[in-house]
Every structure is written in structure tokens, then in C-alpha cells.
Symmetry: C2
Subunit: 335 residues, 2 copies
């Protein structure tokens, strides 16, 4: 295992200390328990947006804390759900009197711990609602999760709901909007190589030199099928077709096309994937009016990519274009 770490058990804490040192102008970090909040939290009259999940998916979620995105993020240990106490404290820290919305990826541990935290918060009289992200078309039920897993759409959900919360949307507004986004986005991913959880010290699965895994989840869970290595164009087609057929997307629609690197994939390769994905979308009659290309939701040093397609309407397009000012995503200045 080759990693730039110290003791594996200190990795999450030390990375948070690094974020604190780097971004004290934007975020405040709690080390006991782990969470990050906007420096200006709580904001009176604004719904507090809280997300979280296992570490190892950076920049998600702590990198998206700031104006126009999340109010708080709760990182668990690597690929391990945050505990209810983290979620409770973070939610309290960003409660400005307008309630709190949790954005939860559909993984069993995340769902359970966010639900427990929400119950504890409601018992204290806090208005808490939840939006679930379950955009992965690859498999219906996996070893880790009942129903579809939450993957790339999570980044878009955090950006779009973040913009709406900034405009003082209420908890019911945000829950409704989150439901629309959930119903409008689909993703699928693939891996060329596995990744290694530091505390395990060994790759999460094995792939031969001429193999790839299609339909992986962000923890390197098994996907839809294992296949022989293929060209970027063929891989892109294998991801786009299940996505397009699933919603289904319809000719004439505006969409956001998000091509994401899983960690170790060079940006030059992501642009090759984007090129083909945009061609396929266009042949399908879709208008790609917004896009995002880069390394935004990862599985440590896994090589591979995911594609997310989100149907847009005028409201979502405007929310996408709204400013954001977070460690990992800065937005809104247009020349």
C-alpha cells in the first residue's frame, strides 16, 4: 500500500486539521466529533443543509461546505458512515431557526444513522427533513444497500439545494425540490482499478490487467458485470445507454452532463469520455446546456469514471448558475 499518510487511524483527523488550517476563512472544523460547518453558521432564517458519509470520497462532502452549498458535513472514517452524534451536533450548529435538511446517500449505514439523528433532533423540537439520493442505475440491491445507491447526483443535489437554501427556500420547499432532482437524475460508474482502504492495507477487489468492472459503487462494491477492457468510446456507451434508458430521458430535453473521475483518472481521459458522452446525448436529441467535468466524488485512488445525467428545467438551470464559495467548488464569477 503506497499512500501519503501517517498512521491510518489518524488519517481523517489529520486531513480535517489540514482543511482547518487551509480554509479557516470559509469553514470551521470540529474534531470531537468530526464535522465541518460554514464559518458564518448558523444563519438566522436559513435552512441548514447537512450531509455526510464515509471519508475517502473527497472533495465530497467537507469540500462542499460554504456559501451556496452545504452548511455542514459529517465525515465518517474511510468508507464508514458518520455516527448519529456527529450528525446531531452538526445539525444543531447550523440551525438558524428555519430547520434542517439532511441530504443522505442511499447506503444502509448512512440511512440508519441519519434517521437516528433526525429522531433525536426532532425529540428536541428541531424541524428536520431528509432527502435521499439513489441515482445509481447499475444494480438494484447490492451487498451494502437495499435499493439503488447514491452516487454522482449527490454533488449536483448539494449544489442545487444549496442555492435554493441561500434564497431562503423553506424545509418543505427544499424537500419537494430534492424530490424533483432525485427523480430527474441518473448515474453509472466503472472502475479500471480497485482502491485500498488504509486500515485494510489491501485492494478492495481484484481486477486482471485486461479487465474492468462496470457499475461499481463508490465504495468499490461489485457492479453490474465484469468485462474485458474496452476503448473509452465503448465504455462511455456502456454507461450512457443504461442511464438514458432508465429515466427515460426524452428527446428535446435540456440536461446537465457530469463526467466524474473516481480518483486516479487523469483529466485528459475525462475529456475523452465527455466528448463521446456529449455526442451520444446529442444523437439522443438531448441539449447539454450545463456540464461538470473533473474529480468531484471519488473512491480514494480508484481509476475509473462515472457519468451523471440530470434533466434540467428553468429553475434548476438558474440554481446551478448561482454563486458558490466552498473549498472545492467556487462558482458564480462569469466574465
Amino acid at each position: 500500500m503506497k499512500k501519503l499518510i501517517n498512521a491510518a487511524e489518524n488519517l481523517v483527523r489529520e486531513a480535517l486539521e489540514g482543511m482547518q488550517a487551509a480554509h479557516a476563512d470559509r469553514i470551521r472544523v470540529s474534531l470531537e466529533p468530526f464535522y465541518a460547518v460554514r464559518r458564518d453558521a448558523p444563519i438566522a432564517g436559513k435552512v441548514g443543509l447537512v450531509s455526510g458519509g464515509g471519508s475517502g470520497h473527497e472533495p465530497m462532502h467537507c469540500g462542499y461546505v460554504g456559501h451556496g452549498m452545504l452548511d455542514a458535513a459529517c465525515p465518517g472514517q474511510i468508507f464508514t458512515s458518520p455516527t448519529p452524534d456527529q450528525i446531531v451536533e452538526a445539525s444543531q450548529a447550523v440551525n438558524g431557526g428555519a430547520g434542517v435538511l439532511h441530504i443522505v446517500k442511499n447506503y444502509t449505514g448512512d440511512m440508519m444513522n441519519f434517521e437516528l439523528a433526525a429522531e433525536m433532533l426532532r425529540a428536541e423540537g428541531l424541524a428536520v427533513e431528509t432527502v435521499v439520493v439513489d441515482d445509481d442505475v447499475a444494480v438494484e440491491d447490492s451487498r451494502y444497500t437495499a435499493g439503488r445507491r447514491g452516487v454522482g447526483l449527490t454533488v449536483l443535489m448539494e449544489k442545487l439545494l444549496g442555492a435554493a437554501a441561500e434564497e431562503r427556500a423553506t424545509v418543505p420547499d427544499l424537500k419537494r425540490l430534492g424530490g424533483l432532482i432525485r427523480a430527474s437524475g441518473r448515474s453509472m460508474g466503472m472502475a479500471l482499478t480497485p482502491c485500498t482502504v488504509p486500515q485494510h492495507g489491501k485492494p478492495s477487489f481484484a481486477l486482471a490487467d485486461d479487465e474492468m468492472e462496470l457499475g461499481i459503487g463508490i465504495h468499490g462494491e461489485p457492479g453490474r458485470r465484469r468485462a474485458k477492457l474496452a476503448s473509452a468510446d465503448d465504455v462511455t456507451t456502456m454507461l450512457m445507454e443504461p442511464i438514458l434508458g432508465d429515466l427515460p430521458f426524452r428527446s428535446g430535453e435540456d440536461v446537465l452532463l457530469f463526467v466524474n473521475g473516481m480518483g486516479a483518472t487523469p483529466l485528459i481521459e475525462l475529456y475523452v469520455v465527455y466528448r463521446k458522452a456529449a455526442q451520444i446525448a446529442s444523437q439522443y436529441g438531448l441539449r447539454v446546456t450545463r456540464n461538470l467535468i473533473g474529480t468531484y466524488i471519488t473512491s480514494l485512488e480508484m481509476a475509473g469514471c462515472s457519468i451523471t445525467l440530470l434533466r434540467l428545467n428553468e429553475q434548476l438551470s438558474k440554481l446551478w448558475d448561482a454563486p458558490a464559495d466552498t473549498p472545492a467548488l467556487r462558482w458564480g464569477y462569469r466574465h
Copy 2:
């Protein structure tokens, strides 16, 4: 070799087609010869900033074309210098009557081809000057380059000179400012793993499971020494000490601390490196008033990192904070 590509010989062209499809709102791409320019180029009365170099270092340089950074970038094939005709055409395309400045990393091929292009442009009556970047403290002369190689400081140079050019600094102003930046910044990198040039199909060098290379250049050239794997804190110390001692930096100075991933290194690890680097800078008496942490100048899928330290003055700090709007770096909106 596991890569998301089609035919290796089409990689650069297809990635440029992907950039064109994705960023037509910001840049225009020429495919014959290869270059990218700002969509609004040429800008009357503004010096045209042109850089370039081998591909495989993305987002550098094409990702930095846009308002507040470069006017044009010329990508060569992977790890191969751009040809003089690319540089000549790109320079002509961004000449708004105020002359052109070339930002050139100190690699023999880049130096030669930019110099040839500059001579051809001068023969046509265009005012062209050059700023060289040679910030790598690791080795004085390598297999590829006489003198020090240009590495991480290039990204900062493009941001800072880009901001000054936006304010209508003249060619002599920019050359002087580039000289100051060159004299004020130092870098050093390391690799945990090699990378594979697609057309070669094999890793550029071999490292045992318990080895790392200290002082690599961005093409995976040999570094200062090979060493046993060490903790992130120890690696950071091995990079920071040569940097600090070289300029030398002096207690009380303001600095920009840039921790860069070489391609495959997870962001969570870069924050662990940043944590230690900031501690060392602070113990040394430096005030880290600006920073940049992420994957900005790469060697394909190499795992490893580089650290760049730049001495700041008031002018450089202001230029750093100025807006930028490029595919890979968007800046300027502050909540």
C-alpha cells in the same frame, strides 16, 4: 496499461474535442494545429499571454485559458513539446496589438521551440518576450534539461501574470513581474508510483512496493534520490526543507503554499501533506496567507505530490485574489 482512451495517437485531439464541446462558452479550440484561445481573443490593447508544453499535465495548460489567466495554450503530444507552428499561430490569434508574452517551463524542447516561434513572430514585427519558469530545487541538470526544471510555480505564474495582463500591464511590466515571481518561488515533488505514456504502454520507471522517488520532474524524470517509503509527515519535511533553504525564505515573510497532487493522489492525502507543510512553514516563521490545494499540474496517473512555496508581497497577493474564469480555475466570487 489501463486507460480510458481510444487509439493512443488520437488522445490529445479527442481530449481537445471534448474541451471544445464542454467549454465553448469560454474557449475556442483549434485542431490544426492544436491550440486553445480565449473565446474573446484577441483583446485590443491587452498583452496576449501564451503558454504550452507537453500534454499529460492537465489541467495545465489548456484548462487555464480564459479571463484572468492565459490567452492561449499550445498542447504538444503527451510529454512532448508543442511545435513552433502551434506557438506562432496561437500567438497571432491572441495578438491584440499590445504584444505577446510566452510563459515557458525550463525543459529543453519547450525552450527551443518557444524561442524558434518567438524569432519567427519577431520577424513579422510582433513584440514577443519570454518568461521562463525554473522552480524545481531537486536537481540542477537532469537527463532532459539544462538548469532547473519548471514545475508547480508555472500554475501560479499563469494566474498572477494573467491578472496583471487583465489590468493592461505592458510586455515589459509583465516580463519584470515574471522575473520577480521566478525569483520568489521554489518547488519540489515526489512520486509513489510512475506513470505510463500511452504510446509507450509501459511505466516510465520502476519503483518497488516499499520505495518512493524524491525530486521527480513532471515527466517522471529521475529525481534527487530514491528512498524507502516514509510517512506523510516525513515526506513533507523532505520536500519542505530543500525548498525553504534554497531561496532562502526568511522569517516574517508572507507566502503562498501550494500542495499539488501529481494525478492519482487522493485529495484527503493532500490535506494531510498541507497540514504538515503549514506547520513547518509556521515553525520557520512564515505566514501562510494564501494557499492552493488540489490537482493542478500532473504527470498523468502518477501518485505523489509536489509543494511550491511563493514569497508574496502586496502586489502579488492582490493579483492572486483577482478574478479568473477558466475551465479549471474559477475565482473571484467571495461570499
